[in-house]
């Protein structure tokens, strides 16, 4: 759905999107990494289970809730990528853990 634009000297940051290695420009958000990784949907609705994906990219809509380094319910558009970050789809609602 999205591609990197040319003419950038941003360093690349390796992350893991849904189990696959992806390189994203430094300073990118986790939600952008998902879009660049061609994730399609990035979560499924906690109610109906229908597929959803980032919508506003500015922290308002909460459609980009995802699992980041194992932590669920993170707003992917508000989190800047770090090397080795694991970014995963969140299916349904967050599970309560001990």
């Amino acid at each position: 759905m999205f591609k990197p634009l040319p003419h950038s000297t941003d360093a690349s940051v390796p992350v893991v999107v849904n189990g696959a290695a992806v390189s994203v420009p430094a300073g990118s958000t986790a939600a952008a990494a998902m879009l660049l990784g061609g994730a399609g949907h990035t979560r499924s609705s906690a109610l109906s289970g229908e597929p959803r994906a980032p919508y506003c990219m500015m922290g308002a809509c909460f459609e980009c809730l995802m699992e980041i380094d194992g932590e669920a319910n993170q707003q992917g558009c508000m989190v800047i990528v770090r090397e080795g970050m694991r970014i995963d789809r969140q299916m349904g609602k967050r599970e309560v853990r001990e």
């Binding site: 759905m1 999205f2 990197p4 994906a53 980032p54 990219m57 308002a60």
Partner: protein, 473 residues
């Protein structure tokens, strides 16, 4: 110990940055908080980084965007305490009240004599059939991806809706060599806007920039459908097809990505959570806080600047930030009205010029009823709690549900993680339409803190009492 400031400013868009610079120059001790890791707000998002590693992108985004760089640099040099990546989740709207924020996973508290909030704007929700499908985003989202992440749409994509941002995005993408498959422009109101043209012409550079954008889009060869009266996005798990109607003819096109836009509205949750008095702005079809000419709200502890006060644009927001910072400095008693007069008058004159352009733009791009109160019963209004337009209509007409807060009780409309940001205006417009009353008589959601996501653990970790009488009465 809680650090105390004269003034706490929320937001580092043009209004917040300008307010911070002015307030510090006037001798106030200033804290500035913003949830993003870098200053600029959404309008100048990432501008400092682009200047370093993506100069070409800066050129594509254009001089109005690059202008943010000077402001960001002046902001960095100003004598303020800047809390980047800090999410403000509660402000006690009293003088010497506390401001609660989360930063690096930890809750912080600071104290301020007054609060100047500049949370900016967000795109108006545009609920059309299929708008929750992956592959549907806002024009602003695509622009943010270009600014903050250096990404552009791939495959066949269309821009649908209307407003200056939609046209600007089309031109910015074309400059980067990325061509939209089509622009589907919903009805604009040229004749109604015409009498308001003089104010627009008096505002510096507006007409020239608007015409230049239209020329760029035209010479870019983008198919431009005008007067679109119906939109529906279709697909199973992903947007695959867009259906649109104009001049009485329905068309259908395969598509990979749809970018919607129907103007911008004040980003209101912080102001609402502080119980500021609001009024309905019928020209902009949105609520805005009731303010005096210097940005003082109904609460003596709170001032508002920028697009959160009603949409005025980046340049207007910058001027207003200066105006409101002067008022704060006077009210705090740091400086006399006479001492600040010259500065305040200049900023006021600048603000007035930009404000003068709005009536034309507001009228030209006033959203038609079907975009703010969806006709199709099956269209989702509340994306979080999955409440559809038909359900809202039924509850008003059959169950006499009178307003948005009662709608929460019936179907949890507006009670999901986005706290009504993406359904609030649609819900109140639908209720008003069904009841045959004005939107101002329907009111809005009662927004309560925390207005940003925090955990029970965050609250438990606080070693101070939450004075609940000062918030959410």
């Amino acid at each position: 110990m809680i650090t105390a400031f004269d003034l706490a400013i929320v937001g580092t868009g043009p209004a917040g940055m300008a307010a911070a610079i002015t307030a510090s120059e006037l001798g106030l001790s200033v804290a500035v908080l913003d949830e993003q890791p870098e200053p600029g707000g959404q309008i100048y998002r990432g501008v400092e980084r682009l200047a370093i590693s993506r100069a070409k992108h800066l050129e594509w985004l254009g001089p109005d965007y690059a202008a943010g760089l000077d402001l960001a640099r002046a902001f960095r040099k100003s004598k303020i305490e800047y809390f980047d990546a800090a999410q403000v989740w509660q402000i006690e709207p009293v003088e010497n009240g506390r401001l609660f924020y989360k930063r690096n996973g930890v809750t912080g508290i600071l104290n301020a004599k007054k609060f100047l909030i500049a949370p900016g704007a967000m795109e108006r929700p545009m609920p059309v059939p299929g708008w929750t499908l992956p592959g549907v985003m806002t024009c602003g989202a695509a622009q943010t991806l270009m600014k903050a992440n250096g990404l552009a749409p791939e495959g066949k994509f269309v821009l649908a809706g209307c407003g200056p941002l939609l046209l600007l995005l089309a031109a910015q993408l074309l400059r980067a060599g990325v061509r939209p498959a089509a622009i589907l422009e919903t009805e604009v109101h040229r004749w109604a806007a015409l009498p308001r043209l003089p104010g627009f012409l008096a505002a510096p550079g507006y007409l020239g920039k608007g015409l230049a954008l239209l020329r760029e889009i035209q010479s870019g060869g983008v198919p431009y459908h005008k007067g679109v009266t119906h939109l529906a996005i279709k697909g199973d798990t992903q947007a695959r097809e867009i259906e649109f109607a104009c001049s009485g003819v329905t068309h259908s096109e395969p598509v990979d990505l749809v970018l919607l836009h129907q103007g911008v509205v004040p980003n209101g949750n912080l102001a609402w959570s502080m119980r500021l008095a609001h009024e309905w702005d019928d020209a902009q079809r949105a609520f805005r806080p009731v303010l005096d000419a210097q940005g003082r709200s109904s609460n003596p502890a709170v001032l508002v600047a920028g697009d959160a006060s009603g949409i005025i644009g980046a340049k207007g927001a910058q001027a207003m930030g200066q105006v409101v910072a002067c008022a704060a400095a006077i009210d705090i008693g740091r400086i006399s009205k006479q001492e600040v007069n010259e500065r305040a008058i200049a900023a006021h004159a600048e603000l007035a010029k930009h404000r003068g352009a709005r009536p034309f733009l507001d009228t030209l791009y006033r959203p038609a009823q079907q975009w703010i109160a969806p006709r199709d019963d099956n269209t989702l209004v509340c994306r979080c709690e999955e409440v559809r337009a038909g359900e809202i209509r039924r509850l008003v007409l059959e169950q006499q549900c009178p307003g948005p807060n009662q709608m929460k009780s019936f179907v949890r409309c507006g009670m999901g993680p986005c706290q009504g940001r993406l359904c609030g205006l649609t819900t109140v417009e639908l209720i008003a339409e069904c009841r045959g009353v004005l939107v101002q008589d329907v009111g809005y959601y009662r927004i309560r803190s925390p207005i940003k996501p925090i955990t029970v653990g965050d609250l438990a970790a606080l070693d101070v009492p939450l004075r609940s009488d000062a918030v959410n009465p």
